[in-house]
């Protein structure tokens, strides 16, 4: 065990897999010598060689196409897209190729690729370094989408993703790379050191895709969240002082629908929190699922707290970001009925 930040945990996952499996390799823009703009691949080229960890041309479509071809050959490539905002030039490759290869070829070929991308806001990155595109991937049949919220999960989920024979979009909430963030931007930054989930085994372990974590058990309302929002929701629950059950989805495809259903059937109330803009976001799917499965247990409307329906606005970061204040408001509203 060692105390690790999310960056260190992700780096460790890659290191473990590069060490264990000669078919694993990792590449992306600035990933090689430099170690990635967020330092997730730091030291890996030096340790494992340039053939296993290298820089690529600035071509997200090319990166993913290359990864798919390597995957079809039999490797397990881990591609980094420098920011999730820049994954869109590769969208066709992910949807039309990675996601569909196994199905259309009746299992003759498949794409066991992992696509890592720093994701989400809270770092004053403006429109194109802050977006949360998970809903776009969740709708695509054939893609898994994973979003860890802490170092322990990040490492275990990343190893599971690399070992998965399905294509996995692995979104890393960049605001919590170096410490948990509860949305109180006005307060001092925290590091991971004091957080229980920063205790990370140094070797190999996995956190299975498709299993949610119950961060906090509770009776009055279920809060569904993932990524940074787990910490925001947690803070809001504490501040509002309510016996809420907080579920960290960890992967949205596969989705742990049973954990969700059981919880809402118990509490009868549900608040969904995500950073992405609200309209057409993944919260809609969650709301629909909960409503379909828990209708007769629901005491009040399922509520969504999310980014506004605007592009990510640089100077208005904290007006846009669904912080603890807005979550508290939703919790209060949920309890009104």
């Amino acid at each position: 065990m060692a105390v690790m930040s999310m960056i260190q945990a992700l780096n460790s996952a890659l290191d473990v897999m590069l060490t264990r499996d000669p078919d694993v390799l990792t590449f992306g823009e600035d990933v090689g010598y430099f170690g990635g703009v967020f330092r997730v691949t730091e030291g890996l080229q030096k340790k494992h060689g340039a053939r296993r960890c290298f820089d690529t041309p600035i071509s997200e479509g090319g990166i993913i196409a290359t990864a798919i071809g390597m995957g079809a050959y039999g490797l397990r490539p881990v591609a980094e897209i420098q920011f999730a905002d820049y994954i869109l030039p590769a969208f066709d490759q992910l949807v039309s190729e990675a996601a569909r290869l196994r199905y259309r070829s009746n299992g003759e070929f498949w794409a066991p690729i992992t696509v890592r991308a720093p994701y989400g806001g809270g770092i004053f990155g403006g429109q194109t370094h802050s977006q949360s595109p998970e809903a776009l991937f969740a709708h695509v049949t054939g893609l898994c989408t994973v979003i860890p919220s802490n170092p322990y999960d990040a490492k275990g989920l990343l190893i599971a993703a690399i070992e998965s024979n399905d294509p996995v979009i692995f979104l890393e909430p960049k605001r919590i790379y170096n410490g948990p963030f509860d949305g109180h931007h006005e307060r001092q930054m925290k590091t991971w050191t004091d957080h229980a989930a920063s205790d990370v085994p140094e070797g190999h372990y996995t956190v299975p895709l498709g299993k949610a974590a119950t961060v906090r058990e509770g009776k009055e309302v279920t809060v569904l969240a993932y990524g940074t929002m787990v910490h925001v929701a947690s803070a809001a629950i504490a501040e509002f002082g309510i016996d809420a059950e907080l579920i960290d989805l960890r992967s949205i495809v596969p989705l742990d629908v049973d954990a969700i259903t059981q919880s809402v059937n118990k509490t009868g109330r549900c608040v969904i929190v995500h950073e992405a803009s609200r309209f057409g976001g993944f919260g809609g799917e969650l709301s629909a699922l909960v409503q379909e499965r828990c209708f007769f247990h629901l005491k009040s409307p399922i509520l969504r707290v999310a980014g506004w329906d605007t592009p990510y606005p640089h100077a208005f970061e904290w007006d846009y970001f669904p912080g603890p204040g807005r979550v508290v408001k939703a919790l209060r509203q949920a309890m009104e009925n």
């Binding site: 196409a65 390597m70 190729e97 024979n165």
Partner: protein
């Protein structure tokens, strides 16, 4: 200042006009020198290969010039047979579509030399990343006809379990990567595959096809960039059959330069090859293969050919080009030309040809009937549960619940 004007390229002829290929510059066979395969990519000798036209067979069926390959007559006959089979099979399946037995079909008439020759030059562990117009690759490797028929009829025995549009085959054991309707999006997979081979110090190489129209996709450029940067052992082939559905090659840039010339921008060699000349295709492929084997990386090959048939069963080429343009194509018919060559070298004759053709017609007929007996579109299909299989390696609750809902 003078105002600008927008240039909209247009082909020289349209329906109602006489076919006219007089604008094409067709050098004689042997005109293009053959550089050493491991020549430096910036070598002047590669200008000829990209802007000329590598040809081997002349009008009398004689092989001429530095590119003339040495091929055992047995192999030539095998190639001829594969091309012939491709054409006969496609004719039959096209008719099956008219009879409602399949939803869709596409022919490669006039382009059969490309897949056939390349399939034979490459080894069993090499991988081709096909377009929908290289059926002859599979034919040359003896892929079971009945599997093709069942896939085309989407019947119970469809090897792709009814999940894919007809002709979008996948045949891993025959070095034939999974096809899809999206143009261009697998060109870069070939590069990734080749990079993986190099990464593993393997010796199998990759070969990718793309239509001249589809070279306009960003994927094409991205694939060439990666191939160039990492010296990937891949042969990148542009099949310039002059048409992209109704758009002539000028809409893809052919008014301005050749497709082989695109290689220069990546420091790759570019070869422009008579695609209707089995021997030229063979020779160019051998050159590219030798270059890759010398660890000099990728080669871009433009095959200059002509799409004789309509684009697909949904197309009527008479709407946008002169009737019968195909028969006027100055580079002839690849089957006729290889046949002529085999006869010229004393390894074939009319009688054998007639007999061979008759046998193949028979095989195709028998196999088509066999497939029909299994069933045709709408009359037979794999179990509906197959619709739900293979989305992920292990199905999740959505599949389980939805199967239940549908009762399968």
């Amino acid at each position: 200042m003078c105002p600008f004007d927008l240039h909209i390229p247009a082909p020289p002829t349209r329906p109602g006009d006489e076919p006219d290929f007089s604008h094409l510059v067709i050098p004689p066979p042997g005109a293009v020198p053959r550089p050493e395969a491991d020549v430096n990519a910036s070598s002047e000798s590669l200008r000829d290969t990209a802007y000329g036209l590598i040809r081997v067979l002349d009008n009398q069926g004689h092989a001429a010039g530095p590119w003339a390959p040495r091929i055992a007559p047995e192999k030539l006959r095998q190639g001829l047979r594969a091309m012939l089979l491709t054409r006969l099979f496609e004719d039959r399946m096209f008719r099956s579509h008219r009879q409602g037995k399949t939803s869709f079909f596409m022919k490669s008439t006039g382009e059969e030399a490309i897949g056939a020759a390349q399939s034979m030059v490459l080894g069993p562990r090499d991988m081709c990343f096909p377009t929908y117009r290289v059926l002859s690759w599979l034919m040359a490797r003896g892929y079971p006809l009945i599997d093709l028929v069942n896939q085309i009829f989407s019947n119970e025995k469809d090897p792709l379990k009814g999940r894919q549009l007809p002709i979008l085959y996948s045949a891993r054991d025959y070095g034939f990567y999974s096809l899809s309707g999206n143009l261009g999006s697998r060109f870069g997979h070939a590069v990734g595959w080749a990079m993986a081979s190099a990464y593993k110090n393997d010796d199998s190489l990759a070969l990718a096809y793309i239509g001249e129209g589809s070279t306009a996709e960003g994927d094409f450029h991205e694939a060439l960039t990666f191939a160039s940067v990492y010296h990937a052992p891949v042969i990148l082939c542009v099949t310039n059959n002059q048409w992209a559905i109704s758009s002539y090659a000028g809409i893809a840039g052919a008014e301005e330069t050749t497709f082989a010339a695109k290689a220069a921008g990546y420091g790759l060699p570019g070869l422009r090859v008579d695609g209707n000349d089995f021997l030229a295709v063979w020779a160019a492929t051998e050159w590219a293969m030798a270059r890759a084997r010398a660890n000099r990386g990728a080669t871009l090959i433009e095959f200059f050919t002509y799409r004789v048939a309509g684009h697909s069963t949904s197309d009527d080429p008479a709407r946008y080009r002169p009737a019968d343009e195909g028969s006027q194509w100055p580079l002839g018919d690849p089957i006729a030309r290889l046949k002529q060559h085999l006869i010229a070298i004393g390894e074939w004759d009319e009688a054998r040809h007639v007999q061979c053709e008759a046998e193949l017609v028979d095989t195709v007929r028998t196999t088509a009937k066999e497939g029909e007996a299994v069933g045709t579109l709408g009359h037979s299909k794999p179990p509906v549960s197959e619709m739900f299989e293979g989305v992920f390696e292990t199905p999740d609750w959505r599949v389980r619940e939805q199967r239940k809902e549908l009762g399968v």
